[in-house]
Subunit: 213 residues, 4 copies
């Protein structure tokens, strides 16, 4: 019966992730009546900031879903606090289309650093929520499956701690250079696509090689 | 086969809750071309009523999903009346983005008490629907699992009866002070996050302590 | 493996029904800046046609989901034609918010019979699609579970044949009186909430009573 | 535990497909206040391009869901690369409402070939993503179930390779004749509804008959 509870938390979360990722497309507006004699190609090309914002946010939400999936593979039981922490995380995921829209609108205007700062700080909060969720569930194996290896838990711990740190960097960069901070956000999404344990074994190999040298 | 029916009722309800909670974000509009020389920060700060409405409604829908989940853990069988009562509840959940939008729009205008009254009365109707659903299913254990403890049923009964009572309070407060009624709605959502049985054991302990004194 | 296929058809259909029923709420627009000195109550009251359209369409989609659920309880296997017929049905379900919006907009204007005609004909097509889906699956027990009783199949057959007939009536009424045709559509939705077999036993009892008389 | 992972990938994909297919309806706008004395019928008839775009895109997304379903019946295990390829495919599916809207808007204007070109190239990219996903999973039976017949794999391989080829044709046709390219896209969707193995047995029979002749 406890496992069934996890099942419904996953179903609800999948639904919220799926709707949030699809609502991103509403930010891409089709140009209406063209006011001047420029062709449709030119008008669509001018909307490049919408596509940049769409790609970065889609990659981030998609890969956060992947991480949510990875976490919940290890979690077997649920309690009220876990569900509330999950709702907190989802409330940030659902909000992502808003700063995405802000970015699409303002990336071509003087106020673009404001949009980039809000965008990065949203991701910073999101990565904190991920840490809360995982730390609560994994603390002294509170809600995890019995057969989870301590190495896997430690590897996820390590990777997730990087989240707030790295998003602080993109936040600081956003004050000086908005486009570079967006590029960093996109690269960070790809970083979180790498599974924690393989990162750990990779960095372990790096250390061993250093030792050998 | 009966259990499978519950499964699909849950899947459909999860979908509706997930879409309704995500549609709340459509209420948060990104400012278009700025008419005057104020910066983007100032414009975004002026939209605080949208964020208040978003947070209260997200908390309410999310925690109502949690309660729906708790109820359906106990329910094993379904019949047509249960599905219709569930549809009635969902029809209110789906509507919540409308009074939320109304609140976001009018919380900064003279008509704000109208928006707060409609907002509170929507939650009043919602809590009544929850009572209908639970009372119908739990009456003489009609549709419950065989091993449900009478204490758990009584605890949920007691907590859910508070819903219409408490929302009547926020409804009355809304006529005099809209912001306080919204704050009360938010606190009420948190109250319903506490699981019924622990509330019961808490109030049981309170009573025992009173007896001791 | 065949049963698993039905599972995913149900999951996709549940998702489409859930999103379509939730999108109905987008038709209810919150009034913007009030141009004259009338209060918010008066403005909201003037929008009654939106609420009528919302209630009728919500009841129809919700109860069609219930019928879809009832049909798929009996269906065990799937093939390409069943999935295509299901897609055809879903393409009509997804469209329902459009005539609903049309109705909400035009129920207070001279062209209201056009809106009511389109609304009723959409439901007529929907009920035909339901018949196609069920007839294809149940013909010579093609895709049904082995233990389905012929009585249950016959009862559903009978009730579903009424669909196109009854919606033809609301279609004809729409040419003369739009409000009555909408009321009939709402009553028809409630009629389809009654499970087929109990209808059959009810009409069977009626016949027996007639025989007795 | 590996099979459970496939389950959640399917649930998330089902959600995204369901939301994307339902958002198509947002492209169909209900006419507002009529500026001249033409009736509502005339205004609705003028919107034929919206219905054409809706039907073609609904058929394409629906049948792509069917193909996704067919592929995942054979896939048993998942890894990070599969999930990322799946996200890539979903990012295109989610975008389809945009060129659909573009087509609905511009099919009645001089720039219609631009809309048709973008529409066809979107489907070309989508069919490439399907090939990536399937080739990655089926290469040396990497992630397939053990009992998948090599014939079934070869049949799907063959049919999917046709995708990019055929969509290149509709892309080229779009430069010369937009309506015919849209018709071809619709026919292509129907072609992908036919299950691969039956296509293979059909073309096999054709060849045998040729040999006999």
């Amino acid at each position: 019966m406890q496992e069934k509870e996890t099942g419904r938390v996953e179903a609800f979360s999948d639904g919220v992730f799926a709707v949030a990722i699809t609502l991103l497309v509403l930010n891409i507006k089709v140009p209406g009546l063209l006011p001047d004699d420029k062709g449709l190609w030119a008008v669509l090309a001018r909307e490049w900031s919408m596509y940049v914002a769409y790609i970065t946010s889609f990659a981030t939400i998609g890969i956060m879903w992947l991480n949510h999936h990875r976490i919940l593979v290890h979690i077997r039981r649920t309690d009220t606090i876990l569900i509330l922490l999950n709702l907190l995380l989802l409330s940030i995921i659902v909000l992502i289309p808003v700063p995405t829209d802000l970015l699409a609108e303002y990336l071509v205007r003087p106020d673009m650093h404001v949009a980039a700062i809000i965008y990065s700080s949203m991701f910073f909060v999101m990565s904190c929520c991920f840490n809360f969720l995982w730390r609560y569930a994994s603390h002294e194996n509170r809600l995890l499956a019995k057969n989870v290896s301590p190495q896997a838990v430690a590897a996820i711990n390590q990777q997730y701690l990087c989240g707030p740190l790295f998003y602080t960097v993109t936040f600081v960069v956003a004050w000086f250079n908005a486009p570079i901070s967006i590029l960093l956000n996109f690269i960070l999404a790809l970083f979180f696509a790498i599974p924690g344990p393989s990162l750990a074994s990779f960095s372990g190999r790096m250390k061993r090689e250093e030792t050998v040298v």
